[in-house]
């Protein structure tokens, strides 16, 4: 993030302005990715008019960065009408898509409308692996073709690579593919539970040894020694800081008009079909509660070595049962990075040990057993 963008984001936080919003236009999708957290049925998406009205409200509220995502955004027949409306309102528009439906004509239209960037999910450079994750034969070729179309229009394209058990050996290949295409590449080892609370997708997450390998890859993290260094003790000012941008300068709106602090934080705070967007942002008790939390208010984390450097996601913590609690996935990442277990991991280990000790105590007492014998 540039210094000026950081400065503007901080100003937005001081002024309580939702600087950045992700709006999912649909949960319908033409791929069936094995790790996806969504169900792909249409439970009553907002209409074209409703979304245009929402965009008007967002512009009025001061939203600057608008990320249009899904589901697959190009399944909305009104997609370009909505995009054109958004650009007329002068949002900085970013798109997230699998790009399967982007051909030369769509790429040219995206360029004409002044989209800032297009993020495309690529899971592997090998069709058998990528298509094995999307469950759509030929999807890698379609997505890579689309990247070429977009690049030929001069657009900024970012490959987003989610790391999971199925593709954990392939990220160097994806990075090489990105370099060959002349685009950026991001790698994310986070697997999100499904929105209905089903946590079965988490089994697809990579193990500690893979995380350790990734975090020691200088081509990904830069200075490995610095990245993996044991963090310095956090001061009071760090503990007074906010956990992340969710609810502070950013939020998420579902295709049904529900507003959440973040796409990965399924705490409903209101619905734009019933209330104005800005009223939910400013006045929702739940949004205010999220906004009130400082690192020092967390249940386990303030005493943790990693508190100042952890990527703890409050949404993942919420899905584990407590928005003020630890996020185990991020504990695992901190451990893989530094080799130091988090306070949460130590507490759980202690709890398990206590449980084991208790179980020994309730076994049949030896002297009683011998007495019986």
């Amino acid at each position: 993030m540039s210094a000026l963008l950081q400065e503007m984001t901080e100003k937005a936080q001081r002024l309580n302005i939702p600087f950045s919003v992700q709006l999912d236009l649909t949960y319908r999708c033409n791929e069936r990715c094995v790790h996806c957290y969504l169900d792909h049925d249409d439970h009553g998406e907002m209409s074209t008019a409703e979304i245009k009205h929402l965009l008007d409200e967002m512009a009025e509220a001061g939203v600057f960065i608008l990320t249009l995502s899904g589901g697959e955004i190009f399944l909305r027949k009104d997609f370009f009408e909505l995009l054109e409306h958004a650009r007329r309102l002068m949002f900085c528009v970013k798109l997230k898509t699998n790009a399967v439906l982007i051909r030369e004509r769509e790429a040219a239209r995206i360029r004409d409308l002044g989209v800032e960037s297009v993020q495309i999910s690529i899971y592997s450079h090998r069709p058998e692996v990528h298509d094995g994750i999307t469950l759509i034969p030929g999807s890698l070729k379609r997505s890579v073709d689309a990247i070429r179309f977009l690049k030929s229009q001069g657009l900024k394209v970012i490959i987003a690579n989610v790391l999971m058990t199925q593709n954990m050996q392939d990220y160097p290949g994806v990075r090489a593919l990105a370099a060959d295409l002349g685009v950026e590449c991001t790698l994310d080892p986070t697997i999100t539970p499904m929105m209905d609370g089903n946590r079965s997708t988490l089994e697809l997450g990579v193990d500690q040894s893979t995380l350790r390998q990734v975090f020691r890859d200088a081509s990904l993290v830069g200075e490995v020694d610095e990245f993996c260094a044991i963090p310095a003790q956090s001061g009071e000012s760090e503990l007074e800081s906010t956990p992340c941008s969710a609810g502070h300068t950013a939020c998420y709106v579902s295709p049904y008009g529900e507003v959440f602090p973040c796409v990965q934080f399924p705490l409903p705070t209101g619905n734009v079909r019933q209330q104005r967007f800005v009223d939910i942002w400013r006045d929702s008790d739940r949004m205010k509660e999220v906004r009130s939390i400082r690192l020092k208010d967390l249940t386990t984390c303030p005493s943790c070595t990693h508190v100042g450097s952890c990527t703890r996601c409050p949404g993942l913590a919420f899905m584990e049962g407590n928005m003020r609690g630890p996020s185990s996935q991020d504990c695992e990442k901190s451990f893989a990075r530094t080799g130091i277990p988090s306070a949460n991991m130590l507490a759980r280990k202690q709890a398990a040990a206590n449980l084991g000790h208790n179980l020994v105590q309730i076994r049949a007492l030896p002297n009683l057993a011998s007495a019986i014998a």
């Binding site: 540039s2 000026l4 963008l5 503007m8 100003k11 937005a12 002024l15 302005i17 512009a59 009025e60 509220a61 001061g62 939203v63 600057f64 054109e84 650009r87 007329r88 309102l89 002068m90 949002f91 900085c92 528009v93 004409d112 409308l113 002044g114 800032e116 960037s117 900024k156």
Partner: protein, 110 residues
Amino acid sequence: MSRLYMARNPKVAARSLDGEMMIMSGRDSTLFTLNKTATILWQSADGTTPLDEIVEHRICAEFEVEPAEALHDAENLARELASHEILQISEEPIPPRNSVAGESRTGESR
């Protein structure tokens, strides 16, 4: 003397944050913030109002400044904004290039 016309570049993103105008370049995503004078030029850049009229009615009316000096400074500023592709400038009125450009707003929030 030729007149200068300005139009907002439809490829940029823009929003006013508590009166401070942010503009993101469509060319390379560089972010700019505009000072008061540049914001007036941005807001007034409709492609049809010449710069000297904007200076007379919007800048001289707001700031205590000599009209000739103000016009000279405004021309320099307009050319600088054009060099970053934030504004388009021309010695002829600038017609809208496409539907987004034709109806683009200034990025003002309330």
